[in-house]
Structure formats: C-alpha cells, structure tokens
C-alpha cells in the first residue's frame, strides 16, 4: 500500500485578482433546466409535422438481396419512404468535422443508407416519414428486406490477418501511426530489467440521458432548418454535401444537449431529417429510442496495448516500445485521430529518451467507434499507469518513487518532441491526491483493502494542424446589459456560462445581466466543435477578445466623461468609475448613450485562432500536435471482497491543475462527473458485442453508475495560471475522466496482489484472477 507522502507547498503563482471569473456563480443555464423550461431537441414540435423512423440492418455483415418498400408506401398515413436507390451517391463524410480548411481523407465516407452491403448491426437501410409515430413504425415493419449474411470479422487482430473478410479497403487498415525517438534497442540494452504487459479495454457506451433527436423543415428561403442536439453545428456542411445542395441552404439550430461526451460529435439524425423534409416539404421529427441510440452511434474504442519497458534498478526508464491495436468498427469516423491521441500520449507524462510506438486501427463488422471523452487518452493511461506500477513491482520500489524518477518537467519534450511550455504539476497533484485519502481503512479476512493512483497528461484544444478557429460577438445594449452571440454548443459542461462569466468580468456587467445566444450555424458566429476540451480555450478567447474591444471603447469614453486618462478608469457592477475614487462613477446604461451618440461601437465580432502548425513527420511521429496539456492525478482506496470478487470504491480523490478555474463549481462538477465515468469504466461498463451483435442493448443490460455505486470523488483544484486559455486556464472536461480507471486498476492489484489486465474489473474477473494466482502460488 502507498505510504504517507509529503505535500510540499505550491510554487508561488501570481494570479491577477478578478471579480467575476473564479467565483462559483450559479450557471446561466441552471435554473431553466431545473424548472423544466429548457426545450431539448425532442421537445420541439411544429404544425403539420411528420414522424420518422429508420430501418436498420439486423445483421452485422451481409448483402441486401431484396428491398421492397411498395407495401410500406401504400399504408395510409405514410408520406415518404426512402432507400439508397432514392439518393444516388449520398455519402456522409466521417472525418474532420467542424472548422477546418483541411480536406477529408479518401475513403473515409460512409453511405447515408446502405445500398448493397451492410457492415454492422444497426446500419441504416431505409427511412420512413408518416403522420404518426405508430404509422411510421408499422411502415418500417412492412418493408420487405431480404438479406444474405456474409462472413464477417469481429476482432481487430483477426481483421489484420491475411485472408480476413474485407470490411474496408484492401487490408482493413483504417489508420496507422508511429513514433520513433532515440534508439530503442540501445535503451533496452542499457536497461537492468525489461517489463512487458498487455492491457485490454472494451467498447464503452456514452449513455447520455438524452437519445439523439431532431426536427427539420424547409423555410420560405428554401433553407433546410434542422433543430438538433449536436456537439457540432458545423455539420451543416456535411448535410449540404450529402444532399448535394449549397452550404448556405442548410441551417443547424442546436439545442441544449442532454449529454454528449463525444457521442454527438458525429452526424446523428441530421441527414435523415434533411432528406425527409426536402422530400415531403413538411416538418419531420426523428427521435431515437434508447435501443436505437445504442446501435446507431459510436462507442469508445476497444484497445489492446502492449508495453515493453526497459528500466534501471533506480526506476529510470531507458526505453519504451509500445504496440497498440484499436477496433475501428465498420466505418472510420474519427478513428485515425483517436488513434493518434492514444499514440502520442502512449508513454504517459514521462521523459523517455528512446521511444518506439506502433499503432494500428482495423475495420471490423462491429459498432463503429469514434470520439468519447478523452479521445484515446483514457485507453493510453490505463496502459501506461498500470505499467508504471508493474515496473515499480519489478524493481522493488514504490510506485511514486518510480514515477518521480521519470516525470516530465516544464520545458521537457513529449514523445513526439513537443516542448511543454505550461506548468507541469505532476508532483503537486499526485501528492495531494494521495494525501487526500487520509488514514487507510483496515482490511479484514475476506475484504482486502488496497490503494492505487494514476498520474496523467491530456491535451486540450484541437490538433494544431487542423488550424482551429472560433468567433464570438459581444455587445453592450443601451440599458447596460450585455449580449453574446457565439456558435458554441452547450453539452452540459457549462460552455455557454463560461463565456458569460468572461464577458461579465471584462465589461463589468453582472452575470445575471448577460445573455448568450449560442449554437446556431446561421445566426451565431461559428465557434467550432464542443469537443477536444476546446471551447473554453477557443471560444473563451474569442469572447475575451471581443469583450476587450468593447471594454476599451467604454473606458475611452468614460475617461472623457471623467476628464482622466483611460488607464485611470475601470468597470464593475454595471458601472464605470475612476479607480481609487469610486464616488466618481457612471452607470453603463448612462455611458451607452453618449457612445451611441458619438458613433462609438459597443459591439465587436472577434476571431481567435489557435497556433497553426504543419503535420507531424509520418515516419517518426515528431512534431507539435496540440496547443497544450493538462496534468493531474487521482488516488483511490478500494476494498475487494475475496469471496464474491466485488470491488468497492471506498475513497477517491482527484487533483488537477486547471490553470485557472473560471467557475470553480463547474470545474468541480467536471472533475467529479468525469471521475464517475472513469470509475464506471474501471469496474462496471462494458458494451458487449458477440459476433457483431450487441448483447447489452439497453440501460438494463449496459449498467452505468447510479447514486449508490461509488462515493463522491473529492476534487482538489489547483491553479497554476499557466494554461493557454483565457486568464491562464487549461482544459478539464476530458482530463477529468482519464486517471480514474487506472487508479482503480492499481488499487485492485494492490489489494489482491494480482494484476487484472483487462477492464472492467468485474467480480468474475477478480475471482478468475485469484484462482489463477492461487494456482501459480501452488
């Protein structure tokens, strides 16, 4: 068990004092949600609206040999039935969503509807729109579908073997990446010991509470409007492309999203709705059932990761050779980038001179995999942090000593040669997480207590060669209230609220007097995707920039009013005032009038651009990939019942350097909620697929944590002020999840003395591992 740790005081950080930023204010979206007045995608209806349903493939691999929709079309109340034959060539681009000038990769598109071949269970084949949901359902049942099952491949390792059934391209290879740094052979030769382990992770379901939903209609300008829950309003371009119409004829009106976690990053209902609305000329609504949501959308990638690490007796790592295989499922979607994340973060937050990583993602006839909170980072961390504990065991040192011998420091380079410019608070976070566990809980005869922890690093902001941008408009109204227009989708993490607190800070307008209009591809300036832990960083900066421009105009005009220099004036509590003499003040409403009269603009549209880089070297993987990284750690204490195999989490403490907490209550919510998902990943969650068929088709079989499964994670928020986000913020949305699962895996190994190389660590796996362990001990 981990011993006591010394927690050293934090390095001195000079954080500028702020008035609105840094306070745990009530989020601007909270009360509307609490009183039930927030209108989600499925809550919206229109006159004369039709209801849609989708016919999906019952088999994971097959040929469509017969598809007759005549009977379905003849049912009274059916307005429209569409198959692939009605939409020649309609494709969905499955990569590069959002704000980027880059072109898609060849072969990455998926058919909107399957025409001849189906590649996964649940692949869409036909669409129906009818007067009532029940009629649409009946029409789906009346479609005569004849399928011939063909041999499929259901394992990425099998898919890469010669002679395997082909799902994609010539060889089922969806993507490959490699890293070559230093000389791995030399590093291994210098090692005292070589430690090798293979770790496995399953499919995981996002299981947001809100199934995918939307309503579409064609307006009086011929624009197809789609009101939908999405992380990416820029999918209006994908819809236009799939329909073969101009981009300015599609408008996505995003809603508050009932949970995303990456699962609403890809297109969901948008194209189906657009096709049906165009075809019928009527509004159309499509809402997935929970079961449909499970089979229709992406999963977290299963990975098999093998670490071979050369290490000195004092714990220093001399070389790392890492192999990764990921299951892409039936279509590429964001697999190439998820694989890149896992590859580039494969070594963890450690300085290793000699590194070789080879990763490959293979197509199978399984559910397609794509973005899920952490985007490959959690899988990489499950492997590198369990490996660190195994290294410690092999060299006979404690796990913290081994990590300390290898932790990255500020200014060091990652495995891809990217120099880390921000603070690297690995020591600061890990000691606080461990110390937070307090006194150990004693073990009993049948209940073994163990402790584990994990450090991690995780990027925030998009891949820098995507040339990411965001825009925001900020304006002061004549009554001194403020308005923000920014296309950011709010997926529940407080994306919109953060923008309001930033504008509130800079304009001196109280938060309750700031209104934000968000997530509309036509009338709010495009802000890019709510993915990659990028919105605070990107749109936070865009709002900061726009609000700063308005602020400058207000200060200049107020300075004239007071007869002082602009530096002598400040804004707060809805007023402009002379610093040090707040009796000399003017309300922002009063100040707005002379500004308007003088033609001084009180609104600005600002563009923020991330650093733009070229791609990495394809042969060595060397180059910059992200704007920056978040660092942190989590420690847990578990009890393992050695009779039942049940693992109980007793305590959990997470400590992250978030740079600067814009709203500490929201940050805490991200940390606790992310941790909870990670604990579920470690102990409960597995989306089971057998020969391409989902075995966990609903929330009764796929278990997500309830309020009684885990204790609350204690969240320790550190602020180095060193991030590249506004006010020195880093990102926390995805990082919050990453260290939880490896911390639990290490704690279980600590408790029972046996490593279980696969998550989730179910009672069955615990009992099986203990049986094996008992056999080995003889």
């Amino acid at each position: 068990m981990i011993g006591k740790v010394e927690v050293k005081p934090l390095p001195k950080v000079d954080l500028p004092p702020l008035r609105q930023v840094g306070r745990p204010l009530r989020r601007v979206d909270a009360l509307g949600k609490a009183v039930g007045s927030t209108v989600y995608a499925a809550d919206f209806s229109m006159p004369n609206m039709l209801h849609a349903k989708v016919l999906r493939s019952p088999v994971p691999s097959g040929r469509i040999v017969g598809l007759n929709v005549d009977r379905a079309r003849s049912i009274p109340g059916v307005a429209c039935v569409l198959t692939a034959r009605d939409l020649p060539g309609a494709k969905l681009s499955t990569d590069m969503p959002g704000q980027t000038g880059r072109k898609e990769r060849a072969g990455s598109a998926a058919p909107v509807l399957a025409r001849d071949v189906v590649r996964f269970q649940g692949e869409p084949i036909a669409l129906v729109a009818a007067e009532m949901e029940e009629i649409a359902e009946e029409a789906i049942g009346a479609i005569e579908l004849e399928m011939e099952e063909t041999p499929g491949v259901f394992d990425p390792e099998e898919a890469l073997k010669p002679g395997a059934p082909k799902v994609y391209g010539d060889d089922n290879v969806v993507a490959r990446w490699k890293i070559r740094k230093g000389d791995v052979e030399k590093g291994m030769a210098e090692a005292d010991l070589i430690v090798e382990n293979t770790f496995r992770m399953p499919f995981v379901e996002h299981a947001y509470l809100e199934p995918e939903a939307g309503v579409a209609w064609v307006d009086d300008q011929g624009v197809i409007n789609i009101r939908v829950c999405t992380q990416v309003v820029e999918h209006f371009r994908s819809v236009a492309k799939a329909l073969g119409i101009p981009q300015n004829k599609v408008r996505i009106r995003g809603t508050m999203v009932g949970g995303g976690f990456g699962g609403k990053e890809d297109v969901t209902v948008e194209i189906f709705l657009a096709l049906l609305a165009r075809e019928t000329g009527r509004p159309v609504k499509l809402v997935y059932t929970r079961e449909e949501s499970f089979v229709a959308q992406s999963k977290r990638h299963p990975f098999v990761i093998t670490h071979r690490t050369g290490v000195k007796r004092d714990g220093r790592i001399t070389a790392a050779k890492i192999d990764m295989i990921a299951d892409s499922g039936a279509y590429p979607y964001l697999t190439p980038y998820v694989l890149l994340y896992a590859t580039a973060m494969a070594t963890g937050p450690y300085r290793i001179e000699n590194v070789s990583v080879d990763s490959v993602a293979a197509a199978t006839n399984q559910p397609f995999t794509s973005a899920f909170r952490g985007f490959g980072g959690p899988q990489a961390a499950l492997a590198y942090e369990q490996q660190m504990d195994e290294i410690a065991k092999a060299v006979g040192l404690d796990p913290l000593t081994v990590r300390r011998a290898n932790y990255l420091r500020r200014g060091d380079e990652t495995a891809t040669g990217q120099r880390i410019a921000s603070e690297v608070w690995l020591e600061e976070t890990v000691t606080r997480a461990i110390a937070g566990l307090g006194e150990p809980t004693p073990s009993s005869k049948t209940r073994k207590v163990g402790r584990g922890f994990a450090s991690y690093f995780q990027s925030y902001g998009r891949i820098t060669w995507f040339h990411d941008t965001s825009r925001a408009w900020v304006g002061l109204e004549l009554d001194g209230t403020a308005t923000i227009r920014c296309g950011v989708p709010d997926i529940g993490a407080g994306q919109a609220n953060s923008l309001c607190q930033i504008a509130s800070e800079l304009l001196g307008v109280p938060l309750e007097r700031v209104t934000v209009y968000a997530t509309d591809s036509a009338v709010t300036p495009l802000a890019g995707t709510s993915t990659a832990t990028r919105q605070l960083y990107m749109s936070g900066h865009a709002v900061h920039k726009a609000a700063s421009a308005v602020r400058k105009n207000l200060l200049d005009r107020a300075a004239v009013h007071f007869g002082v220099g602009p530096d002598a004036v400040d804004l707060a509590d809805g007023r402009a005032f002379v610093k040090g003499d707040e009796s000399r003040s003017i309300g922002l409403d009063e100040l707005a009038s002379p500004c308007a009269a003088d033609g001084i603009p009180l609104s600005t549209l600002a563009l923020f651009t991330a650093p733009f880089t070229d791609g990495i070297d394809p042969e060595t993987g060397q180059g910059d990939i992200w704007p920056d990284f978040t660092f942190g750690a989590q420690a847990v204490e578990v009890a393992v019942d050695i009779e039942t195999g049940q693992v109980e989490v007793l305590k959990s403490v997470a400590c992250h350097d978030v740079g600067r907490a814009i709203n500490p209550a929201a940050v805490r919510g991200q940390i606790i909620g992310g941790s909870h998902q990670g604990l579920g990943y470690a102990l409960m969650e597995e989306y089971i697929v057998k020969d391409g068929i989902t075995q966990t088709p609903s929330l009764a079989e796929y278990l997500v944590p309830t309020s009684c499964d885990f204790p609350a994670t204690e969240a320790i928020i550190l602020e180095s002020g060193s991030g590249v986000g506004p006010f020195g913020a880093k990102g926390i949305g995805e990082p919050a999840l990453t260290p939880a699962a490896p911390a639990v895996a290490n704690a279980v190994a600590d408790a029972i003395g046996i490593r279980i190389h696969e998550v989730p660590i179910t009672p069955e796996r615990v009992l099986a591992a203990m049986k094996r362990g008992a056999r080995w001990r003889g």
Binding site: P24, R26, R27, D29, A30, L31, G32, K33, A34, V35, G36, S37, T38, V39, Y40, A42, D43, H206, A207, Y208, L209, E210, P211, M256, V257, G258, G259, G260, F261, V287, T289, R290, I491, G492, A493, G494, A665, A666, R668, G669, I672, G673, G674, S675, H676, Q677, S698, L699, A700, V704, P705, T706, S707, C708, F710, A712, T713
Partner: protein, 161 residues
C-alpha cells in the same frame, strides 16, 4: 383499439383526453405539452420521466394513462417556474447539481417525493431516494448536496408548495 376518455389533473389543471389503453402516461404528458417530462429509455431504467402521481414518485413510462384516470400528476414545471422557482429547483441551480439538465426534472421530482416524507434525510437516504434516476454528467455528488440544501431551505421556511 377502443378509446376511453380519461381525466387527469396535471399541475393543478384538469385535462380530458381520449386514448386507447396502450398509451403510457409519459406519452400523454408529452403530447399534452408537458415536455419537461423527459424520455430517456421508456423502460423504467433511467428515471428521466419521473413524476408524482397522487404524491408518489413513478416513472411515467411504466404507467398506462388509463391507470392515472382521475388522479393528480405533478411535474417539474408544475413545481415552479423561472419567476417562482421551488426551493428544490433553486437549490439544484445554486449547488452545481445541473449539468446537461436532462435528468434534472426527474431528479427534482424524486427529491420532492423524498422531502415530502423525510424533511431531514441523511446522505445515505438521499442516495437511496435518487438511485432510480440516472445522471451521466455529475457523478451525483452535487445533486446529493442540492437535496440536502433544499431540505435546509424548506426547513427554513422557503417552501412554496
């Protein structure tokens, strides 16, 4: 299927609807415009559609509308509004218990059902009371805090209903 006219008292307002026997209470509530009652699974697994039926917490997807004939239904939007929020709703907003918000109306009704019978619940009792309501965002900690805070506020005289 035969239709029958039933009478529901929803958030204090009498409504009459004619329905076949297989329509769920969830469906009729949403069709009547009470879209604050969320559909998360339609199988009773998630609790997003929870309402009070004659003061008792039910998943409205598991109740047939006919079974609710002549009975009183309370949903989150009947508990309070933006202008006049219920202390439970205020407490949820103030403690960071609301993230994506999709589970929130159901959570709030589960809280109301708990506090109506147990005005000063322990953490364990709170966790048990909301265990039928899934939340994927918060990890429940701030929801548990919100329930305790709501109990304090109501005890302090803030209850409007």
């Amino acid at each position: 299927m035969d239709e029958r006219t039933i009478r529901l008292k929803i958030n204090g307002r009498e409504r009459e609807v004619s329905l076949p026997p297989n329509v769920t209470l969830l469906r009729v509530l949403r069709d009547l415009g009470y879209v604050d009652v969320k559909n998360g699974c339609e199988k009773g697994d998630c609790g997003a559609c929870a309402v009070l039926l004659d003061g008792k917490l039910v998943n409205s997807c598991l109740v047939l509308a006919w079974q609710a004939d002549g009975r009183e239904i309370l949903t989150a939007s009947g508990l309070g509004s933006i202008e006049h929020p219920h202390p439970i709703q205020e407490a949820f907003a103030d403690t960071g218990a609301v993230q994506c918000g999709y589970c929130t109306p159901g959570m709030i009704m589960a809280t109301k059902a708990l506090l109506d019978v147990n005005p000063d619940p322990s953490e364990e009792e709170i966790r048990e009371a909301i265990s039928g309501n899934l939340c994927r965002c918060t990890g429940y900690a701030q929801i548990v805090e919100a329930v305790a805070e709501a109990a304090r506020r109501i005890a302090g005289g803030g209850d409007s209903g």
